[in-house]
């Protein structure tokens, strides 16, 4: 156990020493990795924020039920009782007279309304469902449309659906971007480790001859890869946080101009941990592949 700990501590110290031994190389590699991880991380943050903004805008999602013109009091009572079951407390009735009055209140509409021989508007119900996911709204609207004496159900979810599709594309694009840059990170680590192995060919050969296991030879390299990747991830998180910080004030200003308030959220602790961890994991992977290939060649 003690030997095992010593072996790992030695490997870690070895990796740190290698990082410190070539500061310029280390800084350059960290920048390459950091910038490669910054792009998908920033994209992810953008999608998250847009989704946040959309969610607050979509919180007043409504479904309108327009009754047939010949709907009588019994039909209305029937719908009321059904709504009490389907969406208790989340609906209100809009009588046709009230609707007409409201229309009259609109500038320019008063004359048109006055010229009408009779009230053309139907009785209506406005429902604000608790569940605002597009699919749930769609299903609810379909149910309403099937009820007796309901002439028309209007769900203004088209924009929500389009938006949702757009967000899905955005998320997919971020994922693809992430995959591409993850591959780049693996490749960068692969090459760094390749150069190190070439530079330490003599030590590796000797170590093998005097009883080093393959794991012992591999260990400092994989630690190095994981460390470099993790530090690169940390740098990326720092860059994204800095960017979000710089953008926060202008975004608030823009939101205020539209009469709203929106706070740009930065990376949380979990996101930072995730990016750092992903960097470390990818660096470790690149080192593993590199060591496996090049050690076999040294055999």
């Amino acid at each position: 156990m003690k030997a095992w700990l010593t072996l790992h501590a030695n490997a870690l110290r070895d990796a740190l020493r290698r990082l410190a031994a070539t500061p310029l190389n280390t800084v350059l590699a960290l920048f390459v990795i950091g910038i490669a991880l910054t792009l998908p991380a920033a994209g992810w943050l953008l999608v998250e924020n847009v989704q946040q903004a959309a969610r607050s805008a979509a919180s007043t999602q409504q479904i309108s039920l327009f009754m047939a013109l010949n709907a009588d009091k019994a039909a209305l009572a029937d719908i009321e009782s059904r709504l009490n079951q389907a969406a208790p407390g989340r609906w209100r009735f809009v009588p046709r007279d009230e609707a007409l009055q409201r229309l009259q209140g609109n500038s320019g509409m008063a004359e048109i309304v006055a010229s009408l021989p009779r009230n053309p508007l139907p009785e209506a119900f406005v429902v604000e469902p608790a569940e605002t996911a597009p699919a749930a709204l769609e299903a609810l609207a379909k149910t309403f449309a099937g009820w007796p004496k309901v002439a028309h159900v209007q769900l203004d979810s088209a924009w929500a659906k389009r938006f949702d599709a757009l967000l899905r594309i955005g998320r997919l694009a971020v994922l693809l971007l992430g995959a591409v840059f993850a591959a780049a990170l693996v490749a960068v680590t692969f090459n760094t480790i390749r150069l190190q192995i070439l530079a330490q060919g003599a030590e590796i050969e000797l170590a093998r001859l005097i009883g080093a296991t393959d794991a012992w030879i591999r260990r400092p390299f994989t630690y190095f890869g994981a460390l470099q990747g993790g530090l690169g991830g940390l740098l990326a998180a720092g860059l994204v946080t800095l960017g979000a910080h710089l953008l926060a004030a202008p975004v608030n200003e823009l939101a205020a101009l539209y009469g709203g308030s929106f706070i740009l959220s930065g990376l949380g602790a979990r996101a930072v941990a995730f990016i750092t961890g992903a960097g470390a994991l990818l660096g470790w992977l690149g080192a593993q592949i590199s060591v496996a290939i090049h050690l076999r060649r040294l055999n």
Partner: protein
């Protein structure tokens, strides 16, 4: 400790380094493997440490048949040996002490104890005052002694040296021989491959003379 029977080694291309070697080396023995250059001395030493594999016959080290050894067990077999290579294989990117620390790092010796043991090994070969020197700054004899310090730092059961005095003057060579004798006296099995005839006939030692790929004496 080491026994081989009917061992042959033929290299690709038809060169036969060893034809048919059978020998027994007991624990605590000091054995010189002698012969002309090309007689197969180096090859035999490499076969003992499983650096190369025989094309015929079998070798048993410490009760382990090398032919049946799994690749994963190979490093652990090698730890029985302290190897002094013909080309020494010193690392010139670190000082003498750090060269001696390598075998200890491989087995995971805690740093404080490792440093202590490496210094003791350097002391035994008379290089303690050169611990911080880079091997490139050492003389031929000092480099050879450094290689021996690295070979013995793990207290191996078998010390295996391939032409340890090849490029040394007589005085330095005698010094190296004294070091090997000292290890032999504390119970280490010592096997030295050498073409130097002056080493044969030492008291308390045995000579394994190779000629044309066979043991001739």
């Amino acid at each position: 400790m080491i026994s081989c029977s009917g061992v042959g080694k033929r290299y690709p291309g038809g060169l036969t380094a060893l034809a048919d070697v059978s020998c027994e080396i007991a624990a605590g023995e000091m054995v010189f493997v002698t012969g002309h250059s090309g007689a197969g001395k180096s090859t035999l030493v490499k076969l003992f440490a499983a650096i190369e594999r025989p094309t015929a016959g079998s070798i048993v080290v410490n009760g382990q048949n090398l032919a049946a050894l799994r690749p994963a067990a190979l490093p652990y077999l090698r730890r029985n040996f302290g190897l002094v290579f013909q080309d020494q294989k010193l690392l010139f990117d670190r000082n003498a002490l750090e060269n001696v620390l390598l075998p200890l790092a491989i087995v995971g010796t805690p740093p404080a104890e490792a440093t202590r043991r490496a210094q003791a090994a350097l002391d035994k070969v008379g290089l303690l005052d050169r611990a911080k020197a880079n091997p490139i700054a050492l003389s031929g004899g000092e480099q050879q002694r450094l290689a021996i310090a690295r070979a013995v730092v793990n207290r191996p059961a078998i010390l295996l040296a391939d032409e340890p005095t090849a490029n040394l003057d007589t005085a330095s060579a005698a010094g190296i021989l004294d070091i090997f004798r000292a290890f032999h006296q504390v119970g280490v099995t010592v096997i030295i491959a050498t073409h130097d005839p002056q080493w044969s006939g030492q008291p308390d030692t045995r000579v394994l003379h190779l000629a044309q790929g066979r043991v001739s004496a």
